[in-house]
């Protein structure tokens, strides 16, 4: 291909919109590609062209009025490929811009009237044709030519080729008809069509189709997206994801713990159980007897509990249901009920189901899989967040202009709101800019004042946080004492819920206070959102933490004095712990203080989480039906009449608050599921209810969020919060399994009387019963011989990744510079081309002088 300027490409300059001749330089300046030779082709021409002649001629002339032909099409001619005549322009609005791996090239092969053809310097036509066959004239056969060439390249590897090609076909940024042609050319060989690829693909498509039906709640997303944009829809997606997580949790705990328990009926209760080791094994027998005594005592106290309140039986049952005591305590809802059961009792293949082991293994499985799911799901989100954080300063405005619109929005009101939010955002950005400027010019005194204000407010907030936490601690601690005194059932109900209510109420009141305070602190808008969020998260997680700490101190930390007398454990009349419980009542014989004792601390913990879960349910319904709907109603009715209603009545969807709500409920589930195996089922139900309620209330009651949350940011936010609470929950549950002594009066671990026994031993004991090689293998993982090298290797790997990341970062900045430089080069060359056009041939000494001048 001998064109003017060697491999230089040819540019057909467009006319100005008025149709008149455009000055050459002007139109060149509009281009920002590499060096071009400007050429211009007379209209109505087909067949091969002599480019050199053309371009020389064109360099001097002005543009013709009517359409000119694309050089590219003409070049295709020179390859003896069919093209259409210039009269049938094949593409009007299709500057086929194709991204091709490393070099994204702006490329336009179709030209008509206002359009021009650009090809970058250095792209050989063959290469560009080869890469982008579909940019050819739609009537040309070059597409077919290409396709055949490709399929000839690898006729054997049909499956891979087709898969790859299929993706390629789909991703071509060209009209359908071209894609179809390209596809046909790829599939032209009937033999290829016939070979197993197609059926396989079809099956895959069918699977995808049926999976589409499984795409749970998909149609809701569209509605919500249309009204509230992608960030709120990301929230619903997060709920859906949690639904699947909970479904998995529920299935595991249900299949491993509850179904075996229900399926086996022997022994019906622990007292009737026989010692599986046989009545003659003395050591086992003593622990067995101890457990039986403890259990007996515990169950008797349960009956006592029930009798001590003087109210009708039915009401009592309802009360028990809500606080998880009495008859509830004996159901499979709580840890205390479970004990080892036997399949096929009495027959010769009877099998003892080790409930403790099942308990442990199911928890390990649930936490492990949840961890993997959360991490894989959050890695992308975190990556996005880091990226957007990095980019925040450098291309913030570009992003908000070019990615500002949410194309999902299809609701008039939200479209208006979105525009309003965008305007707000731009204004906020502008003020942020000016604030930054102002900040730079601030005097020391002003800075000092601001610093003092912030300090005071932070101290204030910390004090409030401390106060809240103390309140939670206090109510939890007092609960047991209060139980002793109160006789009125209703008051009892209230008292039982005081800690859960305190947590919930604080969770709803404090954020409002935080919001007010952050306004005084004079942060930049973006920072203030972040600061409030951090405080919020801190409150939510620490309130749960404090509850746990309070319970831990109540149930597990020993006082110095011995206070237990009538312990059913043999030979122990004055000890601090009885049946591994600290709060074993001192005088349960006469029943006076029966309510103050805890005879199975695991169940007691389970009850607390059960109550939290119930309160959460209640709050969910109350908030929706007693706050949101009435408020909306009032707003609609009175917004014209009272300006106050109009000002405060409108409810805006607050994304972080809702996310924290659902993560909080998830954390309750994680913390409580060991002690209340049916809690995952409750949470699963709750997640479903939350989804539908939130959708309902979003549609009816809410205006889109006031702050423009970004979908990517919120996604990473959800996941980060979830991950943090997951890690905390795992730590707590792990500590309990690994360090605390299980009660001897209840639960699957009651038969182990060893004083240093912890639940984790159920697993290690099981392993040590295996063949020596296997158990040695597993125990090896617990030794320093494994641990220290593994730790070192991990550190090394982390360092390696870090180093590689640093390398990439450096590379990126270098490439960025290079991109800049190339752009400058381009401009320089363009300027030179301009000069050449202005002054003609450089070889002419006069012109050269003029040029140099």
């Amino acid at each position: 291909m001998a064109t003017a300027g060697g491999s230089a490409e040819i540019l057909a300059v467009p006319e100005d919109s008025d149709g008149g001749p455009a000055p050459v330089e002007a139109s060149i300046r509009r281009r920002n590609t590499q060096a071009y030779v400007v050429s211009q082709l007379p209209s109505h021409r087909s067949g091969s062209l002599d480019y050199r002649k053309e371009s020389e001629e064109l360099a001097r002339s002005t543009l013709p009025k009517r359409r000119h032909r694309s050089i590219a099409a003409a070049r295709a001619d020179s390859y003896n490929l069919e093209t259409s005549s210039a009269d049938s322009p094949y593409c009007k609005e299709n500057p086929a811009i194709v991204v091709d791996g490393v070099a994204a090239v702006v490329d336009q092969l179709c030209a008509e009237d206002e359009h021009s053809a650009l090809l970058p310097v250095g792209t050989s036509p063959e290469a560009s044709l080869h890469r982008r066959p579909s940019k050819m004239n739609r009537k040309s056969t070059i597409v077919k030519f290409m396709g055949l060439q490709e399929s000839e390249e690898e006729p054997e590897d049909v499956g891979r080729l087709s898969d790859e090609l299929n993706k390629k076909v789909k991703s071509l940024p060209v009209p359908m008809s071209m894609k179809k042609k390209y596809r046909d050319s790829v599939w032209i060989d009937a033999a290829i069509r016939g070979t197993g690829t197609k059926p396989w693909e079809k099956r895959w498509l069918a699977i995808k189709d049926s999976l589409g039906a499984l795409d749970l709640w998909a149609h809701h997303f569209k509605e919500i997206e249309g009204r509230f944009g992608s960030a709120v829809s990301a929230y619903l997606r997060f709920i859906r994801w949690l639904f699947f997580l909970n479904l998995f949790t529920f299935i595991v705990s249900f299949c491993v713990i509850i179904v075996p328990y229900w399926a086996t009926t022997y022994p019906p209760s622990f007292e009737e159980a026989e010692n599986p080791d046989g009545p003659n094994s003395t050591l086992a027998n003593s622990s067995w007897l101890q457990a039986q005594h403890c259990t007996e005592n515990y169950y008797r106290s349960l009956t006592n509990n029930t009798l001590s309140l003087k109210i009708p039986e039915q009401a009592l049952k309802v009360l028990d249901f809500f606080i998880g005591t009495g008859w509830m305590e004996k159901t499979t809802m709580f840890y205390g009920t479970y004990h080892n059961r036997t399949f096929n009792h009495g027959t010769k293949d009877s099998y003892n189901y080790n409930m403790g082991l099942a308990y442990l293994l199911s928890m390990v499985a649930i936490f492990l899989v949840s961890f993997i799911l959360i991490v894989t799901n959050s890695s992308q989100a975190v990556k996005d967040a880091i990226r957007s954080d990095e980019e925040h300063s450098s291309v913030h405005f570009t992003n908000s202009v070019l990615c500002g619109w949410d194309f999902c929005i299809n609701n008039e009101k939200s479209a208006r709101d979105k525009k309003r939010i965008l305007v707000q955002e731009f204004k906020a950005d502008l003020t942020e800019q000016s604030k930054r400027m102002e900040r730079l010019s601030r005097t020391g005194k002003q800075k000092l004042i601001r610093f003092l204000i912030r300090l005071i407010i932070n101290i204030l907030i910390l004090a409030m946080l401390g106060g809240c936490l103390f309140l939670i601690y206090y109510t939890t601690n007092k609960l047991l004492e209060l139980r002793k005194v109160i006789r009125d059932p209703l008051l009892m109900l209230v008292v039982q819920f005081v800690p859960s209510m305190t947590i919930t109420v604080l969770n709803y009141i404090m954020p409002v206070v935080f919001d007010v305070l952050v306004a005084v602190e004079d942060y930049l808008p973006a920072t203030s959102v972040k600061v409030t969020l951090v405080r919020w998260v801190l409150l939510r997680l620490s309130s749960l933490g404090v509850l746990l700490v309070a319970l831990y101190y109540t149930l597990q930390v020993e006082d110095d004095e011995a206070k237990i007398f009538n312990c059913p454990e043999e030979g122990t009349t004055s000890v601090t712990r009885c049946c591994s419980n600290l709060m074993w009542s001192t005088s349960d014989q006469n029943g006076t203080s029966a309510l103050s004792d805890v005879k199975c601390w695991e169940t007691y913990l389970g009850q607390q989480f059960y109550k939290l879960c119930i309160v959460d349910y209640a709050v969910l319904f109350l908030k929706t039906f007693l706050v949101e709907f009435p408020r909306k109603f009032l707003f609609d009715r009175f917004k014209e009449r009272f300006s106050l209603v109009a000002a405060f009545g409108q409810q805006f969807f607050d994304l972080p608050e809702n996310v924290l709500d659902i993560v909080y409920s998830q954390a309750i589930s994680w913390l409580g599921m060991f002690f209340a195996p049916l809690l995952p089922a409750m949470t699963l139900l709750k997640v479903i209810i939350i989804f539908y309620l939130k959708k309902l209330t979003l549609v009816y009651n809410y205006a889109p969020p006031q702050y423009a949350y970004k979908a990517s940011k919120s996604n990473s936010f959800f996941m980060t919060i979830l991950l943090i609470s997951f890690i905390l929950c795992t730590a707590v549950v792990g500590y309990m399994i690994g360090n605390l002594h299980p009660s001897k009066s209840c639960g699957p671990f009651r038969v182990y009387s060893r004083d240093d026994y912890v639940m984790w031993h159920a697993l290690t004991d099981e392993i040590s019963r295996w063949p020596a090689a296997a158990s040695d293998f597993f125990f090896f993982f617990g030794t320093p011989a494994f641990f220290v090298p593994a730790f070192l290797v991990l550190c090394l790997m982390m360092y390696c990744y870090w180093a590689v990341a640093q390398g990439y970062r450096k590379m990126e900045s270098i490439l960025r510079e290079q991109l800049k430089m190339e752009g400058k080069d381009k401009q320089f060359l363009l300027a030179r081309v301009n000069d050449i056009i202005k002054y003609g041939n450089l070889r002419n000494p006069d012109n050269a002088a003029a040029f140099l001048h």
């Binding site: 590609t33 702006v106 789909k170 405005f397 202009v401 070019l402 619109w405 800049k820």
Partner: protein
């Protein structure tokens, strides 16, 4: 699926499946939407060349609930339709394929660039950006503010300082904008 037989041939459907990010079910659903836009114009039988010869007005497409609130609706239709102001079913399908969730970033970026390139000169110059910004904010910003924002955009993204964004520069930004994929899609 009697509909399937009468509307498209199996080959046609297969071709559409290969060329778009949709399954045959979705394609038929999209056809139903297309057909509903101009019931008297679009035949139920598309087995011939109707899919790329029968055209309906862009205005009808732009009035679809999916697009009607989009400030760029007219421009989107313009980009995807070849004939002046009219759109065939294949173009319609193409459009939603690009906006579908499974479409990769590359193809979305190409079309986004085309949409924002109002004058079609392959560069986003100041007037393109201004038009985009005006559509986005609808008289919300003053002229100075708009000028300031555009200057900022160019300062950030215009790597070669020529006062406009080429596709490379556009792609450089878009490829790393985490929200682009989330927001540049339309569910149908």
């Amino acid at each position: 699926m009697g509909n399937k037989v009468s509307t498209f041939t199996a080959e046609q459907l297969e071709a559409y499946e290969d060329c778009t990010f949709f399954t045959s079910k979705e394609i038929l659903r999209i056809f139903a939407r297309y057909q509903a836009l101009a019931p008297d114009k679009v035949p139920y039988d598309m087995t011939g060349k109707e899919a790329h010869t029968v055209r309906i007005d862009n205005a009808l497409v732009a009035a679809m609930p999916e697009l009607k609130e989009n400030p760029f609706r007219d421009r989107i239709c313009e980009v995807f339709s070849e004939a002046d102001g009219q759109m065939t079913f294949e173009e319609f399908l193409d459009m939603f394929s690009v906006f579908s969730e499974s479409a990769p970033r590359d193809i979305k970026a190409v079309y986004a660039f085309k949409i924002y390139d109002w004058d079609g000169d392959n560069h986003l110059n100041k007037s393109d950006l201004e038009k985009t910004l005006l559509k986005l904010t609808k008289d919300g910003l003053t002229a100075e503010e708009i000028a300031f924002v555009i200057d900022k955009v160019l300062e950030e993204a215009d790597l070669d300082d020529d006062g406009m964004l080429s596709y490379i520069e556009f792609e450089h930004v878009i490829s790393r904008a985490p929200d682009f994929l989330n927001t540049f899609h339309i569910r149908i």
